[in-house]
């Protein structure tokens, strides 16, 4: 018998000892970060970056498989006793010697998780994690010339890439309201001093919002550069249009922190078949939020329609895709993304 088979047999025996619980239910009390546990992390420090942003240093559990610069992780934190999951880009370099990872969070007004992480969370807190994922990464063959186009907290995935280094010609155009709002300002200027980065720092309070036409003068060779852009919806929509109009859409890579929601319609009564709960929902609230508020266990991921971590069978009724307005009706085997779908009349989900 192989050692893995032996181990799984020993585990089965142990389950007879602990039933109806699992051995891990007891082990988790003692060692939540051990190998084989659900992936968790312990917050070790919180460093203030600006008034409203902080970097969280996390020691991930033994099961952490590492990340590629630019990727994000999902983190589940208990805020007021309620487990909430959000996505955050990894801002630490992949080669960090102590094995810790960092995320950098900007507290948005009324933002439950961001506010908690920036202002309240205490070192020592255990959080829940998912492995890193995401396509917003540099290709294996490093491009000769790179442009990073960022604004606000959109700097985070790019900071991860900058810290990994390895590129010879990097220009960054970054916008923030004022100098003191620029997250990682010191790190950026250190890179500039080392000649590892050409930085265009835009303070929108005084200089106004960046018009992409200005790129011609700010970065004359912008169109030749492989570009990674991350920031508010307005910037990304404009960039996609701008690059497309030059016929070089394939040179632009974007990362969005929220879905671009366009439509809402009438809501309806939503039934969660397995949990046996029925609640009234409007036509604008994603079914993911509706279910979570009702105390239903809803799987989730990016919460913005890209990862398919939230797909759920639609058993009856119809739902509307909030990004396109498209209606999906229940049928055998129909799955919907609850994070970007709202009720379109009464419907039933298998949760």
């Amino acid at each position: 018998m192989t050692s893995a088979a032996l181990r799984s047999r020993a585990w089965k025996l142990l389950e007879l000892v602990t039933t109806p619980l699992l051995p891990s239910d007891y082990l988790d009390l003692l060692s939540p970060l051990r190998a084989g546990a659900d992936l968790r992390g312990r917050i070790e420090a919180v460093h203030q970056e600006t008034d409203s942003a902080a970097t969280i240093v996390i020691r991930p559990g033994k099961g952490w498989r590492g990340h590629v610069a630019g990727q994000y992780i999902r983190i589940g934190v208990d805020v007021d006793g309620v487990r909430l999951w959000r996505a955050y880009s990894v801002t630490s370099p992949t080669s960090r010697a102590d094995g810790r990872i960092t995320i950098t969070v900007k507290a948005i007004p009324d933002g439950k998780v961001s506010h908690h992480l920036v202002h309240r969370v205490q070192p020592g807190t255990v959080v829940h994690l998912d492995q890193a994922t995401g396509e917003f990464v540099l290709p294996a063959a490093k491009p000769a010339k790179v442009l990073y186009l960022t604004a606000g907290s959109g700097i985070t995935p790019v900071m991860g890439m900058l810290r990994d280094g390895g590129l010879s010609d990097v220009v960054m155009v970054h916008s923030a309201p004022r100098a003191e709002d620029v997250i990682f300002r010191k790190d950026l200027h250190d890179l500039v001093a080392d000649k590892a980065l050409t930085l265009v720092e835009r303070h929108t309070d005084t200089d106004g919002v960046l018009d992409l036409a200005e790129l011609e003068t700010l970065v004359p060779d912008w169109a030749e550069r492989e570009t990674w852009a991350c920031g508010p919806t307005g910037l990304l929509d404009a960039a996609e249009e701008h690059w497309a109009s030059r016929g070089i859409a394939d040179r632009l890579h974007t990362e969005r922190f929220r879905p671009s929601v366009v439509v809402a319609g009438d809501g309806g009564e939503v039934t969660f078949g397995k949990t046996g709960k029925t609640v009234e929902a409007d036509g604008a609230t994603p079914l993911l939020d509706v279910g979570e508020q009702a105390g239903v266990l809803m799987p989730s991921g990016c919460r913005m329609g890209i990862c398919f971590g939230c797909v759920t069978p639609l058993k009856a009724g119809a739902v509307r895709d909030l990004r396109t307005g498209e209606i999906t009706e229940a049928e055998d085997g129909v799955l919907v993304q609850t994070c970007v779908s709202a009720a379109a009349g009464p419907c039933e989900l298998e949760r």
Binding site: V82, G295, L297
Partner: protein
């Protein structure tokens, strides 16, 4: 049954006002649920698991009498906590709002021979919906006892003190049996053959097998030379847990002063009337904080029945407000110490094992009043 309807003085309007006031109490708790409550249940779970592990560890040496005593006492307490303050309440969905998949009514399994999903159906859906409705609520006399003067007496009822005692000793099996509705389902061949029933029966069989294997084979075997004494210890702990939970549950709906209802009385019940039935159909146990925790806060049975899905640690504060409403609406809040309520409930079991002594006083049946009220 109380001969005089204790709610007769309330008008329709008052009953609906009462309902609104109770809704407000509920909303207040829901709005303030938070970190402290989450920390409470996690703490109880952690204490319970550590206590169980330690007790079972001590029982490995149960050949040594002090180890047997301490281990058995610890395991009994751990099993009581597991079933009462944790299992029962988690399965009620009291902690679903935390969105922790490890402490959620849809994922929880408990140290009990009735599988969680079957118990949830018969307890949450039937018992809590049809509280104290004769013929609908299996918890009421568990289908084997006479619980109200109005129920026809049968010579079989002479034995009910004994049935009740046996049921108390093997309470978890009793619960599994009525979650399966064995009485009804074994009666006809058609029901016995019903694939749905058979699947459920198989699930119970599997659960019993695992439970028995753990308590009466695996742990005794791990104890080596202490095999027999550990077996006796786990048997004792299960017995203690069964007797305890049976007593607590009897105290919830059986003591004198608690009303039962007839099937037709709940037709077309409003929210206010539903609340009123829960108020009149439940009784509390008074006592210390530890006692409340050991009963899974079912000592606040009235509050639990009004708000089955509020976190159990909040019932004590809710009770103060609920009691004030009982006073305001001039209703009787049935409450007493554990010994008093246990005695009262057993007294009823004995009394009703005999036929009614004198011809029943003809008084307006209260359930008719409830509908008319």
């Amino acid at each position: 049954m109380t001969a005089i309807d204790p709610t007769a003085h309330l008008t329709d309007e008052q009953i609906e006002d009462l309902g609104r006031e109770l809704d407000a109490i509920r909303d207040e708790v829901i709005a303030s649920r938070g970190e402290k409550d989450a920390a409470y249940i996690r703490k109880v779970i952690s204490v319970q698991r550590k206590l169980e592990l330690t007790s079972r560890g001590i029982l490995l040496f149960s050949l040594f009498p002090p180890a047997w005593l301490i281990g058995t006492a610890g395991l009994s307490v751990a099993k009581i906590l597991e079933n009462m303050e944790i299992g029962h309440n988690v399965l009620h969905g009291q902690w679903d709002w935390m969105r922790d998949p490890k402490i959620h009514s849809t994922t929880w399994e408990w140290d009990h021979v009735s599988p969680a999903d079957q118990w949830k159906h018969s307890h949450n859906e039937l018992h809590h919906t049809y509280t104290n409705v004769i013929g609908k609520d299996n918890d009421l006399g568990y289908g084997i006892m006479r619980v109200d003067e109005d129920q026809r007496w049968h010579p079989m009822h002479l034995g009910q003190p004994l049935w009740n005692f046996i049921n108390a000793c093997f309470f978890e099996y009793g619960i599994a049996a009525y979650d399966l509705e064995l009485g009804k389902n074994l009666r006809t061949k058609k029901r016995r053959k019903d694939p749905e029933f058979r699947a459920r029966a198989r699930a119970v069989g599997r659960k019993i097998r695992r439970q028995v294997l753990k308590d009466y084979v695996v742990h005794p075997l791990l104890s080596g030379p202490s095999f027999l004494t550990t077996l006796a210890a786990t048997f004792t702990a299960n017995l203690v847990r069964n007797l305890w939970s049976h007593s607590v549950i009897m105290c919830g709906h059986f003591p004198e002063g608690v009303a039962v209802f007839e099937r037709r009385s709940i037709k077309g019940e409003t929210r206010g009337q539903w609340y009123l039935r829960q108020m009149m159909g439940s009784a509390n146990i008074s006592g210390s904080k530890v006692m409340h925790i050991m009963t899974g806060n079912l000592s606040h049975q009235i509050e639990h029945h009004l708000f089955p899905d509020l976190p159990s640690n909040r019932y004590a504060e809710v009770a103060v407000k609920v009691k004030a409403l009982f006073e305001k609406y001039e209703l009787e809040y049935v409450s007493g110490s554990l010994p008093k309520q246990v005695f009262s409930a057993w007294h009823k079991v004995f009394r009703l094992s005999l036929p009614n002594r004198k011809p029943k006083v003809k008084a307006p049946a209260r359930e008719k009043e409830l509908v008319a009220a």
